[in-house]
């Protein structure tokens, strides 16, 4: 489960991105990507390619680990044994996805310890949606259906990228997430076709989650040389707006089908262009939340710090003699 990666487009010009790179190696690298070949950890790569991938994969890994928290809240109070089993399996999947992604990121040269330090000190980001609470069981249903739906769109897109270890991790992740989507849909349908109270619960959860869902794919990409370069390097595979459109096109009809109301009076599809129009999400709120001022940021990081702190003595006690860290091979 994942939001988009916030690719840094901080106004640098393309010349400065690759200014000190060997032009021959750069040309070979770009030709390899253009030919559809994957880049492997031991291959030469531009520094900016490495930097952006580390940033992206690391954010993705953190999102999986932190994303387990809002949903995990409902494991102890899941309605019924089957749903409890399914939710436990889903949350365990997400944590496993975090492991796969951390390993993929380590192949680029950043240790897992450094990534976790950057997470708990707030230096690295994770998907913004996980700074919101799952207030009722219906929230966990909406997360499992619609947030995972968004994540799958993003991950399928990125799995066609150029970096081998990331693509392989995403292939495995996408295969596992198809159950999450079905499970989430099943839960939402159950509530939406249930008693008036259940319908009210799911409608209220949708009202709470719609703004974060619209934020999920990130603000419109600025057209820049930088974005263009990242697209050519197949680091970024689609624009944030394109992925948001794809999500709306696939899921709005399914939500309406259940008689639920999406809290955006401007939301509609232009049948001639096939594009959806909607109320522009409040990006100031998005910025505030991502910078630490959301309803759950402090709790998420505090829980993560506690887990690292309380688990340390166990990890130390069982670490084999002559332990030696080497980055995963692929």
């Amino acid at each position: 489960m994942y939001g988009n990666a916030y690719v840094e487009t901080d106004g640098k010009q393309v010349n400065s991105l690759v200014a000190d790179e060997d032009p021959v190696k750069l040309a070979e690298f770009e030709a390899r990507i253009a030919a559809g070949e994957k880049i492997e950890p031991m291959d030469w790569m531009p520094k900016e390619y490495r930097r952006q991938l580390i940033r992206m994969i690391e954010q993705h890994a953190h999102s999986e680990i932190i994303g387990a928290l809002p949903e995990g809240t409902w494991i102890t109070r899941a309605p019924g044994f089957r749903r409890k089993l399914a939710l436990m399996a889903k949350v365990q999947d997400e944590v496993g996805h975090g492991q796969l992604l951390y390993s993929a990121c380590e192949t680029l040269g950043k240790s897992r310890e450094d990534m976790i330090n950057d997470l708990i000190t707030g230096k690295s980001k994770y998907s913004n949606v996980f700074n919101y609470p799952a207030v009722t069981w219906a929230d966990s249903a909406v997360i499992a259906w619609l947030i995972d739906a968004g994540a799958i769109i993003n991950q399928l897109t990125n799995s066609k990228g150029s970096y081998g270890p990331y693509c392989r991790a995403l292939d495995r992740i996408c295969a596992e997430e198809s159950f999450h989507l079905k499970y989430g849909h099943d839960n939402v349908v159950f509530l939406a076709t249930g008693t008036p109270k259940q319908r009210q619960m799911v409608q209220e959860a949708l009202n709470r989650w719609w703004p974060p869902i619209m934020h999920f794919f990130g603000p419109s990409d600025k057209a820049s040389v930088h974005t263009e370069t990242l697209m050519r390097w197949k680091v970024k595979m689609a624009s944030n707006d394109d992925m948001r459109q794809q999500f709306l096109n696939m899921y709005v009809p399914k939500i309406w089908d259940l008689g639920l109301i999406i809290p955006d009076p401007l939301l509609k599809k232009d049948e001639t262009t096939g594009k959806w129009s909607y109320t522009e999400p409040d990006w100031e709120v998005f910025k505030q939340v991502i910078n630490g001022n959301g309803p759950c940021n402090k709790e998420r990081l505090a829980v993560r710090r506690m887990a690292e702190e309380k688990g340390r003595w166990v990890r130390r006690a069982i670490l084999g003699e002559n332990a030696r860290y080497v980055a995963p091979l692929s």
Binding site: E40, M42, I120, L319, G320, A327
Partner: protein, 126 residues
């Protein structure tokens, strides 16, 4: 101030909001093992990824959770990443002559023409 959460487990844990706890030191995330999976008896084990683990025994436990969660698997191997020797992609030309070695290609041994010619010659002589 300790965290008050919608999740009763978090509230009960009395976690402080602002601490420096949890900072990582080297090997806090253990060491790495590469994982090889056999999906079916009779097939080769294949590399599927890696795990972080303190010992080989626990690496097997984690590998099962990580790589044998779905589908079928009959056997797993793990080996410390640091014990693996690898070739460099830069040296991949060491493999480039492999397809040129026709003397190892069964198709490069063509004897029928020679046998035919020999038989014809025998016929002419008799």
């Amino acid at each position: 101030m300790s965290i008050q959460s919608l999740d009763p487990r978090v509230t009960r844990a009395h976690i402080e909001e602002n601490t420096q706890e949890g900072m990582q030191e080297p090997l806090d995330q253990l060491q790495t093992y590469e994982v090889f999976q056999q999906k079916k008896r009779g097939t080769h084990h294949q590399h599927v990824g890696s795990v972080h683990a303190p010992t080989a025994e626990l690496a097997i436990v984690f590998a099962k959770e990580q790589y044998a969660r779905r589908g079928v698997c009959v056997n797993l191997w793990v080996v410390k990443t640091s014990d693996i020797f690898i070739t460099e992609y830069e040296d991949e030309d060491i493999f480039s002559t492999t397809p040129d070695k026709y003397h190892r290609d069964p198709e490069s041994y063509k004897v029928m023409d020679r046998i035919k010619a020999y038989k014809e010659k025998q016929l002419q002589q008799s």
